[in-house]
Symmetry: C2
Subunit: 143 residues, 2 copies
C-alpha cells in the first residue's frame, strides 16, 4: 500500500503523464494483487465513478509497458495484474477456483532460465506456473 503522491511519483518516474484514472488504476492493482480487469474497473470506480472501461484498459496497457505493473494470464483465465515486478517470482493457480498466489523462485536465482535446447531462440524470461488445488478447494473435495 502506498499513498496517492507515491503513485504520482512512480508515474513521473516512468515518464508518464499523471492522470486520475492512472493513479486510481495503479492504486487498485496494489490493493488487489492478481485481480482481473473487471475487478480493477470496479475498484477504480469506487474512487472515480465515471471512468470508462477503455481508460482502465489503456492505463493497464500503459502501466504494463512501463513496467510498473505486470500482466499475467494463466491458461483458461482472463488477464490479471499485479504490482510485484522485477523480482522473478512465479505463481501457483488453483485448478478449481482460479485463485492465484505468489511463489518465490524455487531453487537459487533463476533455476529454469536455461532451456535444454533453445531452438535458436534468444530467451529473456522463464515463467513458471504451478497448478494444483488451493487449501479450501482441496478440503472441500475430500470432505
Amino acid at each position: 500500500m502506498a499513498t496517492t503522491s507515491e503513485y504520482q511519483r512512480m508515474l513521473r518516474g516512468a515518464a508518464m503523464r499523471v492522470t486520475r484514472p492512472r493513479v486510481a488504476v495503479l492504486s487498485a492493482v496494489y490493493a488487489h494483487p492478481h485481480a482481473d480487469t473487471d475487478s480493477i474497473i470496479r475498484a477504480v470506480r469506487r474512487d472515480l465513478p465515471e471512468v470508462s472501461h477503455q481508460a482502465v484498459y489503456d492505463s493497464l496497457h500503459a502501466l504494463t509497458a512501463a513496467g510498473l505493473v505486470r500482466r499475467i494470464q494463466p491458461s483458461g483465465s482472463v488477464a490479471r495484474y499485479e504490482s510485484r515486478v522485477g523480482d522473478n517470482h512465479h505463481h501457483v493457480v488453483c485448478r478449481s477456483c482460479g485463485v492465484v498466489a505468489d511463489v518465490d523462485c524455487a531453487v537459487g536465482e533463476a533455476p529454469c532460465l536455461t532451456a535444454s535446447d533453445d531452438h535458436a531462440f534468444s530467451i529473456d524470461e522463464a515463467e513458471v506456473t504451478y497448478w494444483g488445488l488451493c487449501h479450501d478447494c482441496s478440503t472441500a473435495r475430500s470432505s
Copy 2:
C-alpha cells in the same frame, strides 16, 4: 504420424466413442503441433468438409479431458493443442510472431516442481514457459 486405425485404437483405449470428427481432430493435432483451434478446424475440413466448428471444439475438449492431447495457452495467445503428452516438457514462445517450440525439462526430471512456499496448495504440475525471440524474428530485427 499415425494411421487412422491407430487413432481409433487410442480413442477406444480412452473409453471414448470413435467418430469421424474425433479421428480427424486427433490426426490434425498430431500433424500440426501447437496449432490453434482455427487451424485445426481448417485441417479437419480438408478430410471432412462438413464438420461444424462446434464438433471440433467438443472433440478437443473431450480429447483434452481424456489426456490424449494437451491444451496450452501462452499469455496473449488463443488456445493451442499438441499431441505430446505425459512427458513434462515445456515451451518456448516467440514474443514477436507467437511461434511455439518444445523444450525438454531443463534440469533433471522435474526441476521446478517444488515451490519454495506452496501456500498450502496441493501442486500437481509445474508449467514452464520461456519467452524470447525466435531465430527469424531476432535476425529480422537486428538487420
